[in-house]
């Protein structure tokens, strides 16, 4: 079933007309309502009059995560805070987190695109969904929640964690749809086996997995272990949260809802659009958002896009799975982590020189693990083990409170962290993503 057949299966010409009209309105709207954007657009010497069609989008400046940080918390919003109905928060690179806001209409849009996602994954009205994404400041839980209600699913807002309870709910209520991070799906399978359950007998037949990168090998593992169809969902809080793109049952790329989120693929170095089908950084313009509309937002995710019509009937452009990042962000258990956040914590702890390294690993059927190696400097060294242990614990607690992710801290000898050309290698990702 296709949730919004008109929009999702529209001919390319009609779609382009809608995108062009929406882009013109967007630029005029942002210019009028967001003082920060007005300055930016004026500096670029561009106004809505310069936008004849969506092809003119390249004339517009990019928006980056740093723009959001610099205008923390609400500076980039196009609406006064009293018109904002919901606020979500995700990681920033340093210091301040990234704050996003939704008006009532934005929440309707979110419900609409998430309803498209769930239909695209294969859900039908009347299905039951177990939402095991975190509810709260993270957009995962509530995004799925709104979409599921919009399309008429029975919602179990289980949120993340408490695996035994998740499994009992699944056994007793028999939901057909599961939403969570892909690594949590595998983790639950291990738990189920340990409890003597047979994952193949589970009621979950469709999984909508996202919030972290995952491989085809992982998809096969999830599908064979749970005997379900595992689909990939894409999104980021700056754009809307989950609901930007979703795989259909053919699993041939993620359908991106380009009538509302206009995609471009650029060369991250030159900022120019790459040739159609080429790999590059995904840039998205939110064509209809009100609270925090963004022009040409640099997602830092590397993808390619194809435009041919899919076997499922949708004409929407399809993005490949994310093949990397143009910055040093890593995603650990669905949470965005920037090495600079850890650097910030270490600098704040007296005497700690930030010579550190992050090691991310994911053992088969387990969740991501993040080790933080910190080189011991003379200033913080003590002959007493208990003081060194207390230091490890302090670093661990502070990092965990900033990141919201469990970490292990290990003190190491100086100059043991690998340096290339004098620059330390900050992240070692051992996961097969």
């Amino acid at each position: 079933m296709i949730w919004n057949e008109k929009m999702e299966c529209m001919g390319h010409e009609d779609l382009k007309n809608i995108q062009s009209e929406r882009l013109r309105n967007l630029v005029a709207y942002i210019y009028k309502n967001s003082p920060a954007y007005k300055i930016k657009l004026d500096a670029f010497g561009i106004s809505s009059r310069d936008i004849k069609s969506v092809d003119d989008i390249e004339k517009l400046p990019f928006t980056t995560k740093e723009d959001l940080r610099d205008s923390y918390p609400f500076g980039l919003f196009s609406r006064p805070v009293k018109d904002i109905n919901e606020i979500h928060v995700s990681s920033g690179t340093t210091g301040n987190p990234t704050v996003v806001g939704y008006t009532k209409d934005d929440l309707k849009l979110w419900a609409e695109v998430m309803a498209r996602v769930l239909c695209c994954a294969g859900a039908v009205p009347g299905d039951m969904i177990q939402i095991a994404y975190g509810y709260g400041l993270f957009t995962g839980g509530l995004g799925f929640h709104y979409g599921a209600i919009e399309m008429g699913l029975s919602v179990i807002p289980a949120s993340s964690g408490q695996t035994k309870r998740q499994l009992k709910i699944m056994q007793d209520f028999k939901p057909r749809i599961l939403g969570c991070t892909p690594s949590y799906a595998l983790y639950m399978a291990e738990e189920a086996k340990a409890l003597g359950m047979k994952p193949k007998d589970s009621s979950w037949k469709i999984g909508v997995f996202g919030a972290e990168p995952w491989s085809e090998a992982m998809r096969k593992a999830i599908e064979s272990t749970w005997d379900m169809c595992a689909t990939d969902v894409y999104g980021l809080s700056e754009i809307i949260g989950p609901g930007v793109a979703q795989e259909c049952q053919h699993k041939a790329g993620l359908h991106l809802f380009s009538d509302v989120f206009y995609p471009e693929v650029i060369d991250p170095k030159t900022g120019k659009n790459v040739k159609e089908g080429g790999k590059g950084e995904l840039v998205i313009t939110t064509l209809t958002k009100q609270g925090l509309p963004l022009i040409r937002y640099r997602t830092r995710d590397i993808v390619s896009i194809k435009y041919e019509k899919c076997k499922c009937g949708r004409t929407s452009p399809r993005i490949s799975k994310i093949s990397g990042r143009t910055d040093d962000m890593i995603i650990v258990r669905g949470i965005n982590v920037f090495p600079s956040q850890i650097e910030h914590v270490l600098l704040g702890i007296e005497g700690t020189q930030p010579h550190y390294q992050l090691i991310v690993d994911r053992k088969a059927g387990d969740l991501d693990e993040l080790d933080v190696l910190v080189e011991v400097e003379e200033k913080i060294f003590s002959d007493e083990i208990k003081k060194l242990r207390a230091l490890e614990e302090k670093i661990k607690k502070e990092i965990e409170s900033v990141l919201g992710v469990f970490v292990r801290v290990r003190l190491v000898e100086p100059r043991t962290i690998e340096r290339s050309e004098g620059k330390a290698k900050r992240v070692i990702d051992k996961r097969a993503l």
Partner: protein, 143 residues
Amino acid sequence: MKLIQISIFLENKKGRLLDVCSLLSAGKINIRALTVAESDNFGVLRVVVDKPQEATTLLKAHGFVANLTEIVGVEVPDKPGGLADVLKILSKHNINVEYMYGFLEKSSNRALLVFRFDNSDTAIEVLKTNKIRVVGQKDMGVL
């Protein structure tokens, strides 16, 4: 009357203790006492040597994190209850022992132990008042 101990940070990696000992050996530095305290991933090697300043410079030059700590050498009667008597005195005066270890001693008519106290000066005073012999660098043959 205090002794100087060198503390060295070591990761729990094969051969690290050997690396330190080889380095000291090459520098013609003699180890008089040694103990290793360990945690999950790292350990702290504590040594008393004949040339502490020289040894520290050498270790630091080779990338080790090392610092100097004042410890107290105590002569304990080499008989049953000898250590207990000393500890009783310390306990009575609320002196906390952070850690302690034995000393390599060739002549065997006395037992030498080194103590790390919170406050070395107070500890030394208490020990002396109670007629316990506190030994310095020279007595220990490390000067």
